[in-house]
């Protein structure tokens, strides 16, 4: 007899992964589902709903949900609220989990057990995944697993998620047929228990969560209860009456529950955890003495950034030459094998320089992501946030805002999404408004081209110095604007920073390599779709209408649609030192910054002065002259253009995400307006102040 496997579409269990930030939830999620995701090791990286599918030890399909990291069910931020709501079955879009994998950091068990203690009250079958046992072992911490299982009353699986150790055992535990809901072990002060049971009876929720909901309601302050009063006036009245009765007995519900839970956790840990003496400093502590030092910390930070940019300019040269030669060869091959026609011009002057001009920067972008991955995986990012807290608070921003701002170096979109960890609305809005000022990877091709035009023969150190300066200009602009917004539009007090500094870890090269491959895929897909389509349209705009017979190529592009557009905006950009051809690049790159490079390639190619490669584009731009014979790309124009791209919005995807995150068109439109004005003024100031000082 054969047993038919269950249909693929059927899900036997909804499993959720919950735990503190930075305890390895996303790593376990990736290992179980095979889905690739970004795994960071600073608090708050999981801000989205992440679902996947995996198969139990007998092949039964299950749904897996990666909940945002939280320290407690008494929530402080929107992402913690999502985790609480899913566990309590409050969300209509997500079913209440059948099983919860509570991920716990073995090296700091006492702190991690607080959330577990709250989850045990929820009456959901729970499995504790005791992660990072290797880190605990290295610190000499011994955990008695059978005793811990007995104390918690749920299965405990020791794991090292980064090495996929314990995955099989975890799958077996989740696949067990009979998973009982945990027993309530936590000693709750009797008056609070009585009040909670009384309130639970009034709640119109399932009996399993009623007690936990009642406990949470009892710990809410007046304002939060006021918000609930509109829908449940009777329940809120009962809660207020219960709180008053408890206070009459000198019991503050929240602090009494916190104390009771920590007392229980302390007792559990004293029975199951054996720690060595606290005398010695860990390696992380010793490293922190240097890396978070008020002087050496900054030296290390700037050193790391300099190393990153020098590598971007030196290591990337060889693969960039390969891509360059490849594009050159392809252009020549098409030219020799196709008769002269508009189609050939579209391919040779439009598609190949447009796409090739952007793809050539892939190696530099990959090196940027390699370094960001190392900084993130090693635990250094959290130190950088800690060091920046003083700077952040001086401009009125919360220390947590630094993590979204740091993520924006890669792309403003995940950065803006990461602002969900910022509790205060005004702090969050200020962070969203300034996040696109941090130089994202799409600006890299523009900076690289303009630096090549500015100083083609200079050393890599000089080039990386200019690149680093552009990044610093972005940072200074972001902080200045944040300070301005917090003083004017978005006034509010900023709470103190509470940040977990994870121990330093050896970065997972495999994980970083996976992310780089993913990044390359996204970049190439974008080049093959959006950039290709834009290149075709820009070629058409720069080619049609056809000029009268006998016109030169320069006259032809001047009277084309693109030329007319460039001429149209020329009065607005002339004060910045730009001509109408740069205007075409600025208009063309409104949707995405990196399109500027491809657009310039198309414009100069159609004009007939470039021979299919970016080094020639650089040379053409260097020798480009105004009708009066003066150079177009003077050093001041190059720097002014880079400043314009540092400060301008120029990214449609970011606009869409800001619209979604702020739930209104008001903020993204305001952001486009202020950033464009800032970019214009910045470029204007550079150009004219530079002239005034005596530069060209």
């Amino acid at each position: 007899m054969t047993i038919a496997p269950p249909p693929v579409a059927e899900t036997t269990r909804n499993v959720a992964i919950a735990g503190n930030p930075n305890c390895g939830k996303s790593t376990i999620f990736n290992a179980l589902t095979g889905l690739r995701q970004k795994v960071g090791n600073y608090p708050g990286v999981t801000v989205e709903r992440k679902m996947g599918r995996f198969f139990g030890s007998h092949g039964e399909p299950m749904t897996l949900l990666d909940l945002p990291g939280s320290y407690s069910l008494q929530v402080r931020s929107p992402d913690e609220a999502v985790a609480r709501d899913v566990l309590l079955g409050r969300r209509a879009d997500t079913p209440r989990p059948d099983v919860v994998i509570a991920v716990v950091d073995a090296s700091s068990l006492e702190r991690s057990l607080y959330l577990v203690a709250q989850m045990l009250d929820l009456q959901i079958p729970t499995i504790v995944a005791l992660n990072m046992v290797d880190v605990a072992e290295r610190r000499g911490i011994i955990i008695n697993l059978p005793a811990l299982e007995e104390e918690l009353g749920v299965p405990v699986v020791p794991m090292v998620a980064t090495k996929s150790l314990g995955m099989v055992e975890l799958k077996q535990a989740v696949s067990r047929q009979l998973l009982a809901a945990p027993k309530r072990l936590l000693p709750i002060p009797e008056p609070i228990r009585a009040e909670a049971e009384s309130i639970a009876g009034e709640l119109k929720v399932s009996p399993e969560v009623a007690f936990a909901e009642a406990l949470l309601l009892l710990t809410l302050h007046d304002q939060a209860l006021g918000d609930l009063a509109e829908n449940n006036p009777a329940v809120v009245e009962s809660v207020l009456a219960a709180q008053a009765r408890l206070r009459a007995l000198e019991i503050e519900p929240l602090s009494a529950l916190v104390e009771a839970r920590y007392e229980w956790i302390h007792e559990v840990c004293s029975r199951v955890v054996h720690k060595p003496g606290e005398s010695g400093l860990t390696i992380s502590d010793r490293m922190d003495m240097i890396l978070t030092h008020r002087v050496w910390g900054w030296v290390s930070f700037l050193g790391a950034m300099t190393l990153m940019f020098v590598c971007i300019f030196t290591l990337a040269q060889i693969p960039m030459e390969w891509i360059d030669n490849g594009a050159k060869w392809l252009g020549q091959w098409v030219s020799t094998h196709m008769p002269e026609s508009d189609l050939r011009s579209l391919i040779v002057d439009g598609a190949i320089p447009g796409v090739g001009g952007v793809v050539i920067f892939l190696p530099q972008i990959l090196i940027l992501f390699f370094f960001l991955g190392i900084l993130e995986d090693s635990g250094y990012m959290a130190r950088a946030a800690f060091m920046m807290d003083r700077v952040m608070s001086s401009v009125g921003l919360h220390g947590k805002s630094f993590i979204p701002l740091l993520s924006s170096f890669a792309c403003a979109i995940p950065g803006i999404m990461a602002t969900r960890t910022v509790e205060n609305r005004n702090d969050r809005l200020a962070t969203i408004l300034v996040a696109p000022l941090m130089s994202c990877s799409a600006r890299l091709p523009v900076y690289a081209l303009m630096i090549a035009v500015l100083i083609p023969t200079a050393s890599s150190f000089a080039k990386s110095g200019i690149m680093l300066s552009m990044y610093l200009v972005g940072i200074v602009a972001a902080f200045t604007m944040a300070w301005f917004f917090k003083k004017t539009l978005l006034k509010s007090d900023t709470p103190m920073l509470l940040l977990e500094l994870p121990p330093y870890r050896r970065p997972s090269l495999r994980g970083i390599a996976t992310r780089m491959v993913e990044r390359a895929g996204i970049f190439l897909r974008r080049a093959g779709t959006v950039i290709l389509a834009l290149s075709i349209l820009l070629w058409a705009l720069a080619t049609y209408p056809k000029p009268p017979a006998g016109a030169t190529r320069a006259e032809a592009i001047s009277q084309s649609y693109a030329g007319r557009m460039g001429h149209f905006i020329e009065p607005a950009i002339r004060p910045l030192g730009y001509d109408w051809k740069i205007g075409i690049g600025l208009v063309g790159s409104f949707a995405a910054r990196e399109v500027f490079v491809g657009t310039m390639g198309i414009v100069y190619n159609i004009e007939g002065e470039v021979k299919d490669d970016t080094s020639s584009l650089r040379d053409t731009m260097r020798s480009e002259r105004h009708p009066d014979g003066s150079l177009v790309y003077t050093p001041l124009v190059c720097i002014s253009l880079m400043i314009f791209y540092v400060l301008a919005m120029q990214c449609i995807s970011t606009v869409a995400v800001v619209r979604r995150e702020t739930n209104s068109w008001r903020w993204p439109l305001f952001q486009i307006g202020y950033m464009t004005a800032l970019a214009w003024l910045g470029a204007f100031a550079v150009f004219h102040v530079g002239h005034w000082i005596g530069f060209q």
Binding site: A410, C411, R660
Partner: protein
């Protein structure tokens, strides 16, 4: 190359490029999150949701 065929092929490619952006815009309307084009690492979220 036949000039008419040349013009037809160029017009076809330009129309394809325009259609690409129109379809992309229509598909994005009303959908939360970003797509593969935005360049952020949240892309796989969309894939995960579709697989459910």
């Amino acid at each position: 190359m036949n000039p008419l065929l040349d013009q037809l092929l160029v017009a076809f490619l330009i129309l394809c490029a325009i259609t690409f952006f129109v379809v992309r815009m229509l598909r994005k309307r009303g959908k939360p999150g970003c797509d593969a084009g935005c360049g952020c690492s949240a892309t796989k979220l969309g894939t995960a949701d579709k697989r459910r």
